[in-house]
């Protein structure tokens, strides 16, 4: 059976060149980077080179790059770390209703610790409004954290504008760029961010490794303590293989990014067009200001998990904002924040393309989806009631 992977926002396969870059470091250059003998120095050098590479691509300096175990840890280190460091100055944080759970739940935790959090709404296209950010700023605001691109709808947020605002008001600004990095150009100065999270497994790197960019001068306390690695901000023996893999993956993703992403975008537009041609299917998120690989649609009268399972039976991997895919009772907080009804949210489908997808993949999906939708609709009491 043909297998078509259209869930690149969830995770990506590790690129063969990334595997090749990592392999020698498992068994041959395996030293602990903190050891002073040659085995250690080889690893240290590899980590240093990787750090330089990552810094350069993001427009940062090597000292500003802290490796973490992934996006969730980077987000928590940024948010809790700033809160810990600046709680003497104020206890108000601004975020949005559409953040990833790593940001939302870190903020909710801080609410239990005496912080106040404003969760900004979004418009129908899933975008934070700059006027809302401005209105939310208080004298005691210590942190703004707004994601760069949403993981469900791919909707791009006005990071540059928020960056300018944050600077004007001297508020630390973090962006969760986990979905953006590797898909669109990301430069920390251009964006005006103080903190930025990324995660390798979203751009053909390994899982379990990420980065928190920390602009020099930003006040931040570590969440855990130990051997002093990563300038004490993130101690523990360095996962040097992961670091090497992350740097290689970032390099590959950002080399000729424009032409690679133009290809992805063209496929995406074809897929989007085909999906919207199915009756009673509507697009979620902004039609243009979205990640090049993202399509998110609501398919009326059917439920997302059934769609996923039906597609999966024919080899196609996608995801949904349906509650039934998460184990909670409420469907996607992102789609609800955009004003979708529960029915529309339960019937949402996210298809995220990657660099290996082909025109045939898209044709295949557009071929099998309509009969699946029809079959599920015919089974649906809502379809008959309409």
């Amino acid at each position: 059976m043909r297998r078509v992977y259209l869930d690149h926002a969830a995770t990506t396969p590790v690129h063969p060149e990334v595997i090749a870059a990592m392999l020698p470091h498992f068994h041959n250059s395996f030293g602990n980077p903190s050891s002073i003998h040659s085995f250690g120095r080889e690893s240290r050098q590899a980590v240093d080179e990787a750090r330089e590479k990552v810094a350069k691509i993001l427009g940062a300096t090597a000292r500003e790059i802290v490796f973490t175990s992934g996006g969730t840890e980077a987000d928590n280190l940024a948010i809790q770390g700033v809160a810990l460091a600046k709680k003497g100055q104020g206890r108000h944080i601004i975020t949005s209703q559409i953040e990833h759970h790593a940001v939302l739940d870190a903020c909710k935790y801080l609410e239990t610790q005496g912080f106040a959090v404003t969760y900004l709404p979004v418009n129908a296209e899933g975008q934070v409004q700059i006027a809302d950010v401005l209105a939310a700023i208080r004298p005691d605001t210590i942190l703004i954290t707004i994601m760069h691109a949403n993981n469900e709808t791919g909707a791009l947020q006005p990071i540059r504008e928020i960056g300018r605002l944050a600077k004007e008001h001297k508020i630390t600004f973090h962006t969760d760029a986990v979905q953006a990095v590797g898909s669109i150009p990301v430069n920390v100065d251009d964006l005006g961010v103080d903190l930025l999270s990324l995660s390798a497994h979203k751009f053909y790197g390994p899982k379990g490794i990420g980065v928190l960019y920390i602009r020099s001068g930003t006040k931040l306390k570590p969440l855990y303590h130990g051997g002093g690695q990563e300038r004490k901000l993130r101690p523990g023996t360095e996962n040097h293989v992961g670091v090497i893999g992350l740097a290689k993956a970032l390099e590959l993703a950002t080399t000729e990014m424009e032409s690679k992403q133009a290809k992805v975008r063209a496929l995406r537009d074809k897929l989007m067009g085909g999906l919207l041609a199915i009756p009673e299917v509507k697009l979620n998120g902004h039609p243009e200001e979205r990640l090049p690989g993202n399509v998110n649609v609501s398919i009326r009268y059917v439920e997302g998990e059934s769609l996923i399972l039906s597609l999966d039976m024919q080899g196609v991997a996608v995801s949904s904002g349906s509650a039934c895919t998460s184990g909670s009772l409420d469907p996607s907080h992102v789609l609800l924040a955009m004003g979708l009804s529960h029915g529309e949210a339960h019937g949402s489908l996210r298809l995220t393309l990657g660099q290996d997808n082909t025109e045939e993949d898209v044709d295949y999906v557009l071929g099998i989806l309509p009969p699946i939708v029809l079959r599920l609709r015919q089974m649906s009491p809502l379809y008959h009631k309409r």
């Binding site: 009268y301 059917v302 439920e303 997302g304 998990e305 059934s306 399972l309 039976m313 349906s322 509650a323 039934c324 895919t325 998460s326 184990g327 009772l329 409420d330 469907p331 009804s341 529960h342 029915g343 339960h346 015919q378 089974m379 649906s380 009491p381 809502l382 008959h384």
Partner: protein, 139 residues
């Protein structure tokens, strides 16, 4: 979500007794859209108060569809009293288990069956007419 077992997947892939009935003797519907599961069951009852025919329509996840399918198979040929004894857990057991998170939220098919039986009995007693009953949501 944990994954479904083969039996559940079989009922999802090839649901038994899908459809509606124009001349149903009883119709039951449970669930609501905000939870993401709506199940409707139609029954035809014979002179011995046995379920002679049964159909379902379901909006919902794999577990919702599979349990709906399963409950129709289990109910067919049973007397109404026998059918009323079956509960959601029995349906899950007949499916050889459901992932834990699905046990609560999508395992409502027996409730839909019970609602259909109730609707049938209420009609017989002349308390209600059918169109009202079909709207009676539980859950």
């Amino acid at each position: 979500m944990n994954s479904y077992n083969e039996k559940v997947m079989d009922h999802f892939k090839n649901p038994r007794n899908v459809g509606s009935m124009d001349d149903a003797d009883g119709i039951g519907e449970v669930g609501n859209i905000s939870c993401g599961d709506i199940m409707r069951i139609y029954i035809k009852v014979d002179g011995e108060e046995r379920i002679a025919d049964i159909k379902f329509q379901t909006f919902g996840c794999g577990a919702a569809i599979a349990t709906s399918s399963m409950v129709t198979e289990m109910a067919k040929g049973k007397t109404l009293d026998e059918a009323l004894v079956m509960n959601n857990k029995d349906v899950a057991t007949s499916l050889e288990g459901l992932p834990p998170v699905k046990m609560h939220c999508s395992n409502l098919a027996a409730d839909a069956l019970h609602a259909a039986i109730k609707n049938y009995r209420e009609q017989k007693l002349g308390h209600k007419d059918m169109s009202d009953a079909a709207e009676a949501h539980t859950h």
